[in-house]
């Protein structure tokens, strides 16, 4: 079970209360987590990354385990603590975007 924390504006858009808990098939990567998130909540498509290119929107950031993963390889495995659900994967609105 992967835990995902969304910024409040996206929680309200998707009518999500608290953390999202996702089952991710196969390797747990940023891409597979976001794919699972968008499959579960289609209204989030286009709000975190581009519909087609899947490029991260400039004012969205990805953090986990006190690290900034925004510029990491989207197909690299996420830390074990995220993959096991011990730590959440954080999707954050950049400080400059509010």
């Amino acid at each position: 079970m992967i835990r995902v924390v969304l910024p409040s504006h996206l929680r309200r858009l998707a009518s999500i209360d608290g953390e999202v808990k996702l089952e991710v098939a196969g390797a747990v990567t940023q891409r597979s987590v976001l794919d699972a998130l968008e499959a579960a909540y289609p209204m989030l498509r286009g709000t975190i990354r581009d519909h087609d290119t899947k490029r991260r929107r400039a004012f969205m950031r990805f953090f986990a385990c006190e690290e900034d993963l925004s510029h990491e390889d989207m197909d690299a495995p996420l830390p074990d603590r995220v993959a096991t659900g011990a730590e959440p994967y954080l999707i954050v609105g950049a400080m400059a975007g509010g």
């Binding site: 910024p7 858009l13 209204m43 498509r45 286009g46 519909h51 969205m60 609105g93 975007g97 509010g98």
Partner: protein
């Protein structure tokens, strides 16, 4: 009893203002989509319960919301706006080529007869259409693909397609306006387009009467006379009597002919409203006095309407999509300001009263007249 529903888009959410036909007391609903920029909310002429809202913010881009119950509830629909083919380039602020990039929806124009068909005017300037209630969007690329597209440039608000007018009398005829490219007309339901800017003169471009490059702020039409169009340009107020083939200036005795919105009385096709703004540098009313100007002669002769509006220390702006009229027997006129006030007049502009006074900056105002 008949009533009205005023749909207000602001920098931080949408608001719905409702009243009966007297328009004396108002119920305020909102904020809907709090914290998001709501560029526009508009109802379908074919089904007043069908509303479309453009929701945007820098973090997460564009969302489109749809209501099927007059704004009581909403759900997000499709937000994928992909330009057809290779996007190409337009002019950037500095005159260099810049690729077309979708930013936001400025304006929705629902079809006159089908609630599921709606047009979207977007930034960077393009026209999209949905035939399934906003779930999927397809570009009508004949507009952006016009030979002049590479010469279009952004106005101060970005390179936006902000006006879409559907001709109720001539099937397939529609008008659009883009800042800063100008006005365009299609006679084949949006497949092909041509500029209709003859008679426009604009400083700030190399050729003052060029085919494109004009910063048209808004166009309005009365449905009973669809060949007559009124235009508020960056500077100048103009009228066309031939569906845009040519334009003549009608600024007349206005104190300044800079401004953003323009609209037409619901029952008097020659009664027109504008809100003069001091200049392109000073985006507030002359002398700190907020006044709507009305012409009953299709332009040239204008009268100030000030009763009930602030006449000192008022330095707000009224944006291009922030004025609307209802179609009750005594025509109501409404406008919103960047100071968060929405004013209404239940007597065609003779007198005004604030409906709400402390909203976020108002981006758009539309009104629905309900049975």
């Amino acid at each position: 009893m008949a009533g009205v529903r005023v749909l207000v888009g602001t920098r931080k959410g949408a608001f719905v203002l409702s009243s009966d036909g007297t328009r004396r007391s108002w119920e305020v609903s909102g904020p809907h989509f709090g914290g998001w920029e709501i560029y526009h909310v508009k109802g379908s002429p074919a089904d007043p319960n069908r509303l479309y809202a453009s929701q945007h913010r820098g973090w997460s881009g564009q969302v489109v919301q749809r209501s099927d119950d007059g704004g009581a509830s909403w759900r997000p629909v499709g937000n994928k706006f992909s330009y057809a083919g290779a996007p190409g380039t337009h002019q950037w602020y500095d005159g260099t080529p810049h690729p077309w990039e979708f930013e936001r929806v400025w304006h929705f124009e629902p079809s006159l007869d089908d609630p599921d068909t709606v047009y979207a005017g977007v930034e960077d300037a393009g026209l999209f259409r949905s035939a399934d209630g906003g779930e999927n969007w397809e570009e009508l690329s004949g507009l952006r693909g016009h030979d002049t597209g590479s010469a279009w440039q952004p106005g101060g608000g970005g390179m936006c397609l902000h006006t879409i007018i559907l001709d109720p009398a001539t099937p397939g005829r529609m008008f659009t306006a883009i800042s800063a490219a100008g006005a365009f007309r299609s006679d084949d339901a949006g497949q092909t387009w041509r500029p209709i800017n003859r008679g426009l003169h604009s400083q700030g471009i190399p050729d003052e009467d060029a085919e494109v490059g004009h910063c048209v702020h808004r166009i309005a039409m009365h449905p009973s006379r669809p060949s007559v169009l009124y235009m508020q340009k960056h500077w100048d107020v103009l009228r066309s009597d031939d569906a845009g083939e040519s334009w003549q200036e009608i600024s007349g005795d206005l104190p300044t002919d800079f401004g953003f919105p323009i609209d037409v009385h619901a029952h008097e096709p020659e009664t027109v409203y504008v809100v003069p703004i001091t200049s392109d540098e000073l985006h507030y009313p002359p002398d700190g006095q907020l006044r709507v100007y009305r012409s009953r002669t299709a332009g040239d002769e204008w009268e100030p309407l000030a009763k009930g509006l602030p006449q000192q220390n008022c330095y707000v702006n009224v944006l291009r999509d922030a004025m609307a009229v209802d179609s009750l027997e005594e025509c109501g006129v409404y406008f919103g300001t960047t100071g968060g006030q929405v004013y209404g007049s239940a007597d065609g502009g003779d007198s005004w009263a604030p409906i709400v006074t402390n909203l976020p900056a108002v981006l758009s105002v539309e009104v629905q007249t309900l049975p």
